[in-house]
Symmetry: C2
Amino acid sequence: MLGGTRLRIYLQLRHVSNMAHLTAEIISIGDEMISGARLDTNTAWLSRRLAELGVEVHFHSTVGDTLAHNVDVFRIAVQRADLVIATGGLGPTQDDLTREAIAESIGVPLQFDPDSLAHIEALFSRRGREMPERNRSQAMFPVGATPIFNPQGTAPGVDIVASRADGTTSRIFALPGVPAEMKTMFDETVGPAILSGGQGGQFIRHSVMKFFGVGESEMEARLGDMISRTRQPRVGITVSAATISLRISATADHVAKCESMIAATREDIMERVGELYFGDGETFEQQHAVDAILRRRKERLCVVELGHAAPLGNWFAAIGDSPVLAGGLSLVGLDELRRFAGSEHADATLQECIETVRQRFSAEWLLLVDAYPDLHQLEQNAIPESSITFSVSHPDGRWTSKTESIGGHPSIVHPRIAKAGLRYLRQCFANPTGEQ
Amino acid sequence: MLGGTRLRIYLQLRHVSNMAHLTAEIISIGDEMISGARLDTNTAWLSRRLAELGVEVHFHSTVGDTLAHNVDVFRIAVQRADLVIATGGLGPTQDDLTREAIAESIGVPLQFDPDSLAHIEALFSRRGREMPERNRSQAMFPVGATPIFNPQGTAPGVDIVASRADGTTSRIFALPGVPAEMKTMFDETVGPAILSGGQGGQFIRHSVMKFFGVGESEMEARLGDMISRTRQPRVGITVSAATISLRISATADHVAKCESMIAATREDIMERVGELYFGDGETFEQQHAVDAILRRRKERLCVVELGHAAPLGNWFAAIGDSPVLAGGLSLVGLDELRRFAGSEHADATLQECIETVRQRFSAEWLLLVDAYPDLHQLEQNAIPESSITFSVSHPDGRWTSKTESIGGHPSIVHPRIAKAGLRYLRQCFANPTGEQ
């Protein structure tokens, strides 16, 4: 099944001039979405991915498991977008109406696809189970559709070109609502199909670099024209609780070409903001970088968090089976820390208390965060700004500190403080004098 | 400005028979939404609130800050929904197009409202600042609209009835995108306006009860017809990381009547699921219940978390200025706990180690969670099921334990374990023998 004429013309234009953009609408289907019971993370993910492919997302629509509403949104979407990406409603139950809604909205019947049924049956037999009769419905497709292979589940996707009255077309891709299945199918099949416009031979490769230490607007200013929408490879910027991700997306007719384009772009990025870089990968955070450094050094770390949060203890524990992250301690303040350390004499210095705790954890390094602020007392809409002291006890017995003023939206100020602490710790690893 | 004829007829029908439901579409506006940079929590919140009012939400639509797309979604929404609730695009910048889009979609001009300008100017002067000229745009309204009072910000909302070609109408409410402002304006103005259908005199009151200990489907089964959509007061169920909220919404022509209806419904609920109840309020969690109990008892608690997470330390710290939550310790496992306790003899029992730690925290109570499982090793889509032991050291020196098998989606299994630990602790408070 090849893409429609309009799609091909758009893509050819885009490859020539980078001026014409394909437009898209994302449709999210399910009672749990329309009722507000679940947040729609699929649509946000698809929006970002489509932007990376140079597609302009103009509309999102959400409907429940009601056929008439589904038909309505597909009819409207086909009229106003070049690409329609739907998620949900492809399961085997009577609530799953996406196949039927697409068929009705474009005026074709459903027909049975024996190959898809064979795939579904094989999946059940590999799990040692017989396929329930109702799963047969997942092998029904609107006439003219191509199934989209689902390597992880029973629900194949639907790829079909819908014609408009004026002879132009829109291409619909329907994917399952399960995020892991949806993402794999988009990256393996839908993304490449959009890029090649049905002509094949186009490849896309991604690379994600992670940064911490400046806000989004400063990052954008320093990257300048690198984040232009028309640049190739495209560099997309996203921020999550003060961690900045740069996602490089290269498209070319050979994988090797994608990879060399990505390598060159990574070098450009490192020249501009290299000192903020800490690692690669969608889910890679500074605690993973710290874990990796300590494993190489064969040294252990513990963390003491004072005040009104203790995220680092949780983050370190979640890394799992690290021989170098010894544990965490959370206490209200310095007095409690002194009491906890049980120093014999009342005038024990803070450093002596820390030393006691570090030894109990059998760790060479200790990071102290003093202290996470209380966010309950804030006036509504106020932006807190707190002075936080990070102290690090080094394996050679030295003790270094740094005080930073840290603010931001209340929902991210605690993680931002924790991340600033990890950055200071990384600076201590890199620079044994502990000076900035 | 009174609601349209169709709206009034619908509401009258609804009050008589409870058969006819108003339908709604929610429109979310902003480049940060359409690009996927931000998750749309406003729409989910509005969906749940509208359901509580007995309104059926049929569609969500999202658009960026592009006038033509905004006009398109408002035109479509007015045709297919009785109520259109929009969020975003009411700020003072050129990107804020909602006022213009509504005017264009229903074919009326914008006009200046002196009262709204006076409110905006007063807000600036209270903050000791002069109003920038561009904020004048926030006092422009489509002809026929009523401003919706915004007690917290400069952007008033828009309430206007749009006519359809067939003589029926749809009512549009446009609210700011800032969640705190949007929620206050919905609860104070939009919700009551929907209930009264423009005739005034209807009140709504809410009460939120919190529960832990069973899954959503068992909760639904035990509540039976109490969660029926046509019940008055309505009881809505939502689940967040294994905590169940029941939100009671009573509507009547007197506040006192709402309150007595709520009181009776609370009694019915307590009869059915009272043993799972731990407190009241949207943001109230078990750690708040534990904090309140310990304050009454004037006893302190510390927590030791082993394994691959440590959420309780963070939750307790976040409560803020509690004199009874002494702190948290996270370690990989029991061997590390023995080493940390530094017991003189190698054959010290676990209880002796715990006793040492409890004394260092100067706490009467200690809760030990052994241990949070590693979720990294899981096969994709697998549902983990782990055996977790909760142990509690009591003020009188007793030591009680309980082992539970806990599973669920990987994203909630760690919080669920932490919450099961808090439940066991609450059982220990209530039942000094520690037996179940």
